[in-house]
Subunit: 354 residues, 4 copies
């Protein structure tokens, strides 16, 4: 791209006051080529990034005053745009930015599904269906080749990332029936965003374990579509998310109908082969257990597979940090690919533990 | 029973130094007819109950010196015995107590399965298989009539309680295929017991979400057997437990293959009818979400059912406090039934919240 | 009082939708003489208690529809009024209720200080200064005799309860200089109330340890006044509260200037003597450490004293559950005293642990 | 030093299996000049670093087999030694390593005090008192000039770091009486180390707030000595640590007797001037509150000062991550200084938040 000539790429972060926006700014600070030159926010416009995120105090980007996300101003200020605005906002905003010439990586769900899915799963009529065909589903480990040159990247949802990466290779290899997948999800509260809610208050969350948005979570059709894109197989997904007392961390446990005789070793080998050489994928050996805590703050996914011949089930567990591999980290991974930059740039792979 | 003549029943608590033992003593303090007269423990013998459990300071039972669990001493000191000893311990101990005349309620897994299941699921050859036929599986809401007069009660496991109570009525009503149930479990750390382990340390648990003992948790055959006892149907269970950063609380999410056309309302009505009038069962209306936190410290189970016609699945969520309905509380419920005492005696139904 | 004639006392709970209101209703359910007949709330008027507090489902009071707190309706419906309305609300409301004949126990700070303190510490001019002289400071262990017959009880704040009970006997005994006390407080989030705030969200609270409202927390003058009421000594207090990642629990660590030669044993003996026979006070032996967790859900206070001759300091640690001994429990203790009922009625003293 | 010639410095990490050891290895991975070539451990010898710390899987150092810490082998394998062995271990081990020619940075308390202090505060007679005079107390912001060229660096304790950095400039400026400082500490569980203990289990820690090791914590004389080294003033310290339900994070709240008329602004200005230009010190403006969470995973300290004229108190709050600025991070900061490397190398200053 043209902007690569001078080696410095100006990026905008929209939704800068939220958790994903804060993560984008934190991670981008360590990026040698991307420089945050525009911070957009709706409710917090006028505030600096540092005032909104005191933990970012001292970074150059902390001094940016967040502005209402005006498409022309954004395209003038930035060569590349990350949008972490709420669901439904970027569908309306991104086309004008794209028309003004800046590629957009959308962290919301606004460009992940076909147009007809939006009314029922997201509750709105999509305002820019033509762009849905242009959008690339940015799950690099499965669709890496599609990202360079894309104008619009739909950055996957956190649960969908874990579930699709868990299941796609297994479906593709024919180790399970291509019919139904049942995904049991567990997540910390940060997936619900930064806005103060009683349901994610400390008081309501400590020692709480509970399902939510059952059975119509909007990641359901995304899981189906991602598997279809990756494998050509149209399967039905059931997705049942649960909230647990954690801040970060998503674990999906996917239940698939195994074909006769499938073993844990076969499932594990299948995943290991599919993700061989991937810098952000850790396929665990049989017997080792995935743990969201080991992915915290990183762009890693941990995958674990087990066959249960007693019930004819293949179980695949996927664990990610919902704000990194499940949001801001994967968005930067896509931006690196889009811009011809080494894919791993600015993406941690070692968790702060404990 | 003879000991009812004078209105006061002497009870022994074995495994008094553990979490379930502590809960038994705490709850029994509010019982007008049971009096703890013997506290048994192996590692902590010689210590008082109060020294082991400082939160119980001030209760009369806090002054009891814990003794090695000698069967004759126990039977001499108590009319009824609660055994919260580790798996494998009461199988060896209970017969001698029973022979000495005291009924036993065993909170371990030692009397819940047929003899042939022990080597593979529990890792030991059962030393007293004859007693396995005598043992009553003490899940009162399903098997209430069998408890009065029983000599030996196998108190159900926490996960098994939630899963069996979730599924049995649904299977019995024929709303699902009687083939396989896949149970995804989530639990706080107290289910792992009181012994200090790195895996349940605060450092390893905060922000950790992870499966464990996959796929061979010993509650698997218990779930199968409980469903068979309740419904006559032999189904296969897969059980995948996960640890989450909570102290108390177990949630099971059971996935069943629904027969065509089954609705959320049918599932809910089925559960509501099955547990009509039950003092410890809260069947939630469609749309309400179960929460382990609302059962904390109580003998309640919350049940929630949802049909997903897209995938032909019936989902039933069950939530209990693993140390109360999942252990000590249900044991007292059984003891009340065994002794002809009002079943609800000394069993809280309102959680301390938040 | 007249209403004792028939053995049943109708009580109103104002602020029923908050945490303290929920605790009052929970605890009062186990009270044989008090019956909740009126639930008042401002924002949630029209909602039932059970809808606001799902954990209270099933209690008779759960069916009460919360009403705007109208003084005449309250006085007509109740013989005794608990007000857990926010600071500044009951100062305006209570006089009319009192005039209508019902005694009031106020859980807010509205009747704890002299009139002149309100503008600077609470930010409002007190609307009913005459009632401030009538109000009894309801810390039963120090002022038990004043409560029976009182019309208006100012129920102490959580931090103030812990700090005053820690220090008053030590000051009274002359073991420390009657000049200054520095109180370092630590609290869980429930003290901030039920309203959803970013600062008490799970995301902001996990692994957060931080001071707040420094150095002008409104419990400062209350600590000073409570010590003066109890000992006649006018000392100055500094109070520095900190938020820690807990739901319930307040610990105050009070630093006093010890007179020469004072020992840990003397301090401990002083506290033990002062609270001898008190059912809710647990003075710990030298070497034992106070723990808020052991008071959770109970009306207990744990007290621990240590002398440090190296710096001439007497340290007294006090731990309470801020919603029970620090709010609803102490209010019921006061109501029992006010009504001539056994003081311990409906007040737990054994924590659910762990 | 000679080893700088070739631009690569071989380092040993002793105590590699513990939390501080794990942090050293994690942080050193991002260091361009230090390479971990030796991992020492006592209990876990024979295990690889990666097996002990699964979150470090994939790092080159994860493949190191941990060895018993033999001084000659260590000195042969490494140019510089970090010792994170338990208190009392490195006092015996370090002299032989030093004699063999490798400088040592000791993260334990073994070289922080004068010889006569060890029996009473640490419970052992110091085996190498001559080295105590050689040891430099490695708090760079106060003693930076002493570190380059040092053979033995005593890396400060976590609480001591926060308390000394809070108080030394205030004492030096004469804003408080140079007599006594009372330090109230709050810490997460990781300060207690990685060994599984009931007291730091998740069950015992959730909702627990409690003092410990009162009043004789071994950081007491270290605080006194650090202040004396920095200011020449011999003051007495009282240190009262508390455990709160966090993993990382230490907050010290220091109470000092202010001289007349001292204001919050003066205290703040004093700290700001003392730490002007320091890359790891964040002095907060009046009204802002320190938060341990914002230092998590970083080498930062947040400092906040408040004057309370009512009681003549200066309050200074210091917050650090006990495993980074309070241990491994500060050790690397010292190693950078010792080796003539840019002090900030490999030391994060932006927290992963929330």
């Amino acid at each position: 791209m043209a902007y690569l000539v001078d080696g410095s790429i100006r990026v905008a972060v929209l939704g800068a006051s939220g958790f994903s926006g804060g993560e984008l700014i934190r991670l981008l600070h360590d990026h040698p080529q991307f420089e945050v030159t525009f911070a957009g926010a709706k409710g917090s416009a006028g505030m600096t990034v540092g005032a909104s995120h005191p933990h970012l105090a001292g970074l150059p980007a902390a001094g940016l005053v967040m502005a209402e996300p005006d498409p022309e101003a954004i395209a003038a200020a930035a060569d590349l745009v990350f949008s972490a605005l709420p669901n439904g906002t970027s569908a309306a905003l991104a086309p004008a930015i794209l028309d003004a010439g800046a590629p957009v990586i959308d962290l919301a769900g606004d460009f992940r599904l076909p147009a007809e899915a939006y009314p029922s799963w997201y509750g709105f009529e999509h305002p820019a269906p033509a762009w849905l065909d242009e959008a690339v589903y940015g799950l690099p480990e499965l669709f890496r080749d599609r990202v360079p040159g894309a104008k619009l990247v739909a950055n996957p949802g956190c649960f969908a990332t874990a579930a699709i990466m868990s299941c796609a290779p297994i479906f593709a290899a024919g180790l399970v029936e291509p019919t139904v997948v049942r995904v049991d999800g567990k997540t910390g509260v940060s997936g619900a965003g930064r806005a103060a809610l009683e349901s994610t208050s400390f008081g309501a969350t400590e020692d709480s374990i509970r399902p939510y948005r059952l059975p119509a979570h909007q990641h359901t059709p995304e899981i189906e579509r991602g598997i279809e894109l990756a494998t050509g197989r149209r399967v039905r997904a059931l997705f049942v998310p649960h909230l647990v007392p954690a801040v970060r961390g998503v674990v999906t446990t996917s239940y698939l109908s195994a074909t006769t005789g499938v073993t844990t070793e076969q499932l594990t080998d299948c995943l290991a082969a599919a993700y061989d050489g991937e810098p952000f994928v850790r396929v665990l050996a049989p017997g080792a257990m995935a743990d969201a805590k080991r992915t915290r703050g990183t762009n890693l996914i941990e995958l674990q597979a087990v066959a249960d011949p007693r019930t004819g089930t293949a179980v695949v567990v996927g664990a990610v940090d919902n704000l990194v591999k499940g949001a801001a980290g994967q968005a930067i991974q896509n931006a690196n690919l889009l811009s011809g930059i080494e894919e791993r740039t600015a993406l941690p792979t070692t968790a702060v533990y404990p």
